[in-house]
Symmetry: C2
Subunit: 152 residues, 2 copies
DNA sequence: TAACAAAGGAAAACGATTTCTTTTTAGTTT
DNA sequence: AAACTAAAAAGAAATCGTTTTCCTTTGTTA
């Protein structure tokens, strides 16, 4: 998928969500998509300032929240409690992530056991589940091997 | 368990964690324990100011973080992104929660499917999982019935 | 009671959000 | 195609929630 196709693709994505296609919104998606790992709002903001003379942090936060609410990008809850964002290339439907706290790589967890658990919990408690969070934190294979190399 | 027993109990808990037993630390546990639902750091701070003439918010945040790290209290990640804290009466080991976003009630989810998933993920990716987040958000039975009563 | 490490307070800094006003977009009408 | 319009988006500044820093106070142990 070349750059032009990507741009047209992003426009379609935004339209589906009922969001207007603005240059800044498209740029946020582009920046996230050309990155392998997850990014912080401030890192995205710095990348944006190369392309735009003025762009405020609130714009970045607002857009990231909207895009995450629409399911286009994923929110990463870092153990440090800072929020990060990630553009999923792999899975398209509902799924969860295993993130590497060292190199920021993200691995998809395709099966969502939480979805089946929701039914059990609703039945048992008589309540209604509206959302859930599932995330695994740790070290990816590469970082684990690297760490073992240093300690051995 | 009466109040005196509780206080002695909290002292032992703090000692096990290698934390000093200070009046403010004990009060934080007491306030959380006598509450049915989860509380925000600021709400806990307000409750503390009734007992102590001076107590800073950083002290409250610091203690809540330490107690949560020690597993004495649980962190609740609210959909609003604000952090809340909860003292578990039921389950003592590792488990997760179903929280009511309306009335703040918390239900235990004793079985932790995430623990078994960790093994699968580690095998598949070759990485190492160090922690995970699992939380279900929604409406408890009472709040669901109440809501249905209004709309019907 | 003395000594040390841990805990707490005050102020500042930081990350994230809200409010309010101006600008831009997308669709509609000339 | 160009101008108009309503709604959405963006900017600036203030505000909120949380954390850090640095120094003083307190708890623990001997
Ligand atoms: Mn993914
Ligand atoms: Mn619990
Ligand atoms: Zn890694
Ligand atoms: Zn409820």
């Amino acid at each position: 998928m070349n750059h032009g196709t990507m741009n047209r693709c992003f426009g379609a994505i935004l339209k589906e969500l009922g969001l207007k296609e603005t240059p800044k919104r498209r740029a946020i998606l582009e920046i996230l998509a050309e990155q392998q790992g997850f990014l912080s709002p401030e890192e995205i903001w710095h990348a944006l300032r190369v392309r735009f003379e003025t762009i405020g942090l609130p714009t970045v936060y607002r857009n990231l929240e909207e895009l995450a609410a629409g399911g286009v990008i994923s929110t990463i809850i870092h153990p440090s409690r800072q929020l990060y964002y990630y553009f999923c290339r792999g899975e398209s439907g509902h799924h969860h992530h295993f993130i590497c706290t060292s190199c920021r790589r993200v691995e998809d967890i395709p099966e969502c056991t939480a979805a089946t658990m929701e039914g059990d919990i609703a039945t048992r408690t008589g309540g209604k589940i509206t959302s859930h969070i599932v995330q695994f934190n740790g070290l990816c294979h590469r970082c684990l091997v690297e760490e073992e190399g240093r300690t051995a």
